[in-house]
Symmetry: C2
Subunit: 187 residues, 2 copies
């Protein structure tokens, strides 16, 4: 299991939990959550669905009468539910990376506050680490940069700083909700 394939598995299991569907529809949903860029190709999705069936995490669940020819509807099994939970709540440093973070975040309603805080803080730490590295070889240092390279550097820095502020706000919300014993964002 690579980082990427773990993330895709989490996305598939999480979306199928919301409601059973077939591959084509599933991919559209992944696009919705992840954006067009980081989403999954058919060449990845269909083989993976079969693999998940083999491993007993999902099953073909189409009611033959209502199912159009050529369509295969999938649903999560209880083993799949467990796998989803362990991927979501047992999230390690893999979940700090860009695309994996988004998928985890999208399913935050199904994780408790401790897990949410751990992922948010890990993500923020990762971004700050990257910011430090990025600032270290800015245009001020020995590195030569023309106007465009410097502008790109500035803009990237600004975007990352904005994301850090966003995360800080979310962390603060989780913490204050915890203090008051209120779950503000629950489903």
């Amino acid at each position: 299991m690579t980082r990427r394939s773990e993330m895709l598995e989490l996305a598939i299991l999480g979306l199928l939990h919301d409601s059973p569907m077939h591959g084509y529809e599933l991919r559209k949903q992944v696009h919705r959550v992840l954006g067009t860029v980081r989403a999954m190709s058919y060449g990845t999705l269909y083989p993976r669905l079969r693999l998940l069936v083999e491993r007993g995490l999902i099953v073909e669940a189409g009611a033959p009468a209502t199912t159009r020819r050529g369509r295969i509807t999938y649903a999560v099994t209880s083993a799949g539910q467990e796998r989803f939970q362990s991927l979501l709540t047992g999230a390690g440093p893999n979940a700090w990376e860009d695309d994996a973070f988004d998928v985890h975040f999208a399913f935050f309603a199904r994780a408790d506050r401790a897990v949410r805080l751990r992922i948010l803080e890990g993500r923020r730490a990762r971004l700050e680490e990257r910011l430090a590295m990025f600032r270290a070889n800015g245009p001020a240092e020995g590195v030569t940069m023309d106007g465009y390279a410097a502008e790109l550097h500035r803009h990237s820095l600004e975007s990352a700083e904005r994301d850090v502020r966003w995360l800080t706000g979310l962390i603060e919300t989780e913490r204050s909700a915890g203090r008051r014993g209120v779950a503000q964002h629950e489903e």
Copy 2:
């Protein structure tokens, strides 16, 4: 040549033009331009360097006296320069995508204004297209979204909108510089 490999080739040729270097240093520079996320692994870089040598776009150029054992310094050939220019200025829709756009932008000083404008406008159009798709299946529509999914959606939208404004500013600058016959950002 896939989209990704074209982008990596552009990055390698462009960075080696600035100054000859060996693979390890080259990768650090790619990291600097692209950020840690979208950069290139060694398993991609080293085979590609050898391929570029085979194709005559770069040469091993280490002065044996000043070169540490085990180091191979590369420099662009004139064929490599031409390839760089054709990749940069002949940029098609591939250059509208996230990582490819960044690399092209980093080398803008070596493209003329017409090319820069074409890439900036293409990039903006791609982002706006994505924004439209993204807005279309927001939380308002039939799609059910809990608080976290909605928050992710909102934040992604905001980031993309910010990038569009950034591009619009850059386009305006290029246009007004053109009108006044001034090349503000030139090296």
